[in-house]
Symmetry: none
Subunit: 408 residues, 2 copies
Amino acid sequence: MQTKLLLIVCDGLGDRPVNGVTPLEIANKPNMDTIASEGICGIMDTVRAGIRPGSDTSHLSLFGYDPFKYYKGRGAFEASGTGLKLQKGDVAFRCNFATIKNGRIIDRRAGRIEDGLDEIANDINTIKLKNIEIIFKRGAGHRGVLVFRGKGLSHNVSDVDPENENVPYNICKPLDNSIDARKTAKLVNEFTKETIDILSKHPVNREREGKGKLPANIILCRGAGIKVDMPSFEEKYGMSAACISATTLIKGVCRDVGMDIIDVKGITGHIDSNIANKADAAIKALKRYDFVFLHIKGTDEASHDGDFNSKKSMIERIDKEVIGRILKHLKDIKDITIVLTADHSTPLSIKQHSADPVPIAILGDVRADDVKRFTERDCAKGGLNRICGINLMDIIMDLSNRSKLFGA
Amino acid sequence: MQTKLLLIVCDGLGDRPVNGVTPLEIANKPNMDTIASEGICGIMDTVRAGIRPGSDTSHLSLFGYDPFKYYKGRGAFEASGTGLKLQKGDVAFRCNFATIKNGRIIDRRAGRIEDGLDEIANDINTIKLKNIEIIFKRGAGHRGVLVFRGKGLSHNVSDVDPENENVPYNICKPLDNSIDARKTAKLVNEFTKETIDILSKHPVNREREGKGKLPANIILCRGAGIKVDMPSFEEKYGMSAACISATTLIKGVCRDVGMDIIDVKGITGHIDSNIANKADAAIKALKRYDFVFLHIKGTDEASHDGDFNSKKSMIERIDKEVIGRILKHLKDIKDITIVLTADHSTPLSIKQHSADPVPIAILGDVRADDVKRFTERDCAKGGLNRICGINLMDIIMDLSNRSKLFGA
C-alpha cells in the first residue's frame, strides 16, 4: 500500500546551543513534537559528514542527486527559478542591483530597490558584447539573473559581487587556464562596466536620487553556473512531484529536476511570509501529486541575522501555521508519509551555514522511537541514528512502499 | 570566528570488556570525563566499519587522506620518521636487529640491543647488491630502516620477519607477477644473507656474546613501502600543523603530509614516556600553529602486552599529566577546539588491533550531549552517533569554523 510523501524542509533550521539551548529546544512547537514522538527520528548530514552545504547542494542531495556530480554553480538554478530556460552552453549568473559611489559598493541592494526594475532590465538587455547574446531578467526584490549565450563560454569564473560593502567590486577572473574561462571573465568585466555606463544616467535612478533614494547604478554578478543534464524526478522515482517555495534558487532546483512549481499567494521567502497559505497549498497538492515538497525560508533568514528570538518565533509560526494545519487536515488520512527536516544548520553563533547535522522526523508506517521532541539533540537519540541526505529519498521511498527490490 | 584545533590521539585506547569492564570504564580519569560531559561524543570507525586499522592507515584516515588511495606500505613512513628522504622509485623496509641460531629466530629484538648499532649500521651499508644502492639507518632501540634505491623495484614483496620466534625467517616472495617484484624479492633475500655473513663475526656481537648477551646477527625486513605523493596538510586545510609523537611511524606519516615535527625531551613511545612534557609542548605549539596533533603510544603498548593494569594506569597518567594539564591551561581560552580519541582499538583480550570503533569527544562550540564519561559504551550514546575517521577533519574544520561552503 503505497503512501504519498510530504517533505517539509525548514531552511537553516539546525543550530548549536546558545547559552546551552537551541531555538528548537526552547520554542513552543507541540505539532513538530507530535511528529517526533509518533514518528522515527534521527540526525542527517544533508551532503556528507563535515561538509558545509549551500541551499543548492543540500537540496540536490535531499532529492537524491549527488551534488558532487550534478552541482555546476548556483546561477543556473537561479535562472530556472526566475523562469528562464537555459540552453546547453549558456552561462548564468545571479545578480544584484547595487549602488556604487566613488568606486565603492555602498549598498549591495540599492536601498532594497523594487520599483523601475523592468525599465532598467530592458535597457540592460540592450548591451552588446562581442559574439554573444545577453539575456537579463529581474527577479524578486533587488535581484536578477544574467545569461550569456554563445560559443566557448565557461562557468568557471569568479564573482564580481564582493558580498561586502564599502569595498570596490571584484574584477571577474578565470578559475582555470582554459580559453573559455578567460574569455568569459573578460565578457563579465565588460558587462559590469556597461551596466555602470547605462545606469549612471538612467531616468529611474535620477528619479530615485531626486527622492533621496539610493540609485541602482551597477549590476553585480556572482555564482556562475551552467545547466546540467539530470534525470527527472519522475524518471528516478516514478512519482509526480510538486514544489512549494518562495525562494528563486529552490524553485530553480525543483524546476530543473522536473517538479511542478505551485504558486502561492502572499509568500515572500522571509519571516513575514504567509506560510499558512503554503500549508493549504500543500494539503491541496497532496490530492494531485505523489510527492509534495514544502520549503520554508524564514528560519534561515533569522539565523543569518543572528536573531535568536526571530528564529524561535519563526519556528513557532511554522509549528502552528504549517505543521498544525497539516496534521489537522491529514489526521484521518493514513496514506501519507510526512518528513520534517532541514537543508542544513545555520547556527546563530556564526550566522552562516554549518555542517552540523540536521534533525529529521518521519511520520508514517515506521518504527516509532522514544524521542519526544523535535530538536537537534533529541533526534540524535532517535531510531534513524545518523543518516546521509543522499540516501533520504531511498529511505522515504521505502517507507512509503514505493521502492524497487534490489535482487530477488 | 575560527578556532585552533588540538587533536589528541591515544594509540590503541579502545577496548572490549574484560570481566565486564574496559580499562576506560574503570580508570579514574576526571579530566577526560570533563571533555566528554562538556563536549559532544560519539564512536568512530577510523578507517571504515569492520576494517582493522594499522596505526599508519588509521592516522592517514584521521588526517583526511583515504588510506585505500594513499597507503603503499609502512616502510616509507618509517623511513620518513627516521629522517630519511625517499626518492621516487625507492623501496623502504622496517627492520629489526634480531638473533638467529641454527636457522631459527630466537629473539626478534636481539636482547633489546641498543649499543653498537651505529657500527653495525655502518657495516650493513657496505653491502653491495647488483645495480642498486643500499641505505641503512638505525632507528630507536632494536629497529632500523632499509632503503633500496635503483630502477625497476617494487614494494609488492612479502616480509622476511616472521613476527614470531623459534621459527626460521621467511624467504621474501613477490606478491605479484611483475618483473620488478620478483627482482626486489631476490634482492631482499640476498640482502638478508649478506647481513648474516657480515654480522656473524662482527666485533659488536663477539663482545655481546662474551658478556652472555644475544648477538644481533641478522637484519629482518618487513613492511616494504614506497613514498606516495600526497597533497600537503596545509594545502588541504589551509592550516599550519605540528606533530608531537615519539613513534617513528607516526612521525613519518606526519612528516609526509607536511606537518612540523616538534621534538620533546624525555618522550619514549612507551609507558614510561614523559607525557607531561608532551602536554606542555602542545600548549606551547598552539600559540604558533593552527592545528596541533598530540599522539601518545603507551596505551597501545600495554594493550599488546595484554596488561590490564598497565593500560588502566597509563590512561590515568594521560588524564592527569596530559588532559588535566591542557584543560588547566586552556580553561579560559575560548578559541580552541579539542578532540580526544584513538587511532584504533587494541582489545586486551586479543592483544592486537581490532576494528571496534573508538570513542571520541569534541570540546568547543558543539551540541554538548548528555554523555558524562569518556568510555567506549558511554560515547556510543553521544550526539555524534557513529562517524567515520575519513570525515573527522571535515567535521572538526566545520566545528572550528574553517570550512569552505560547498554550493551557495
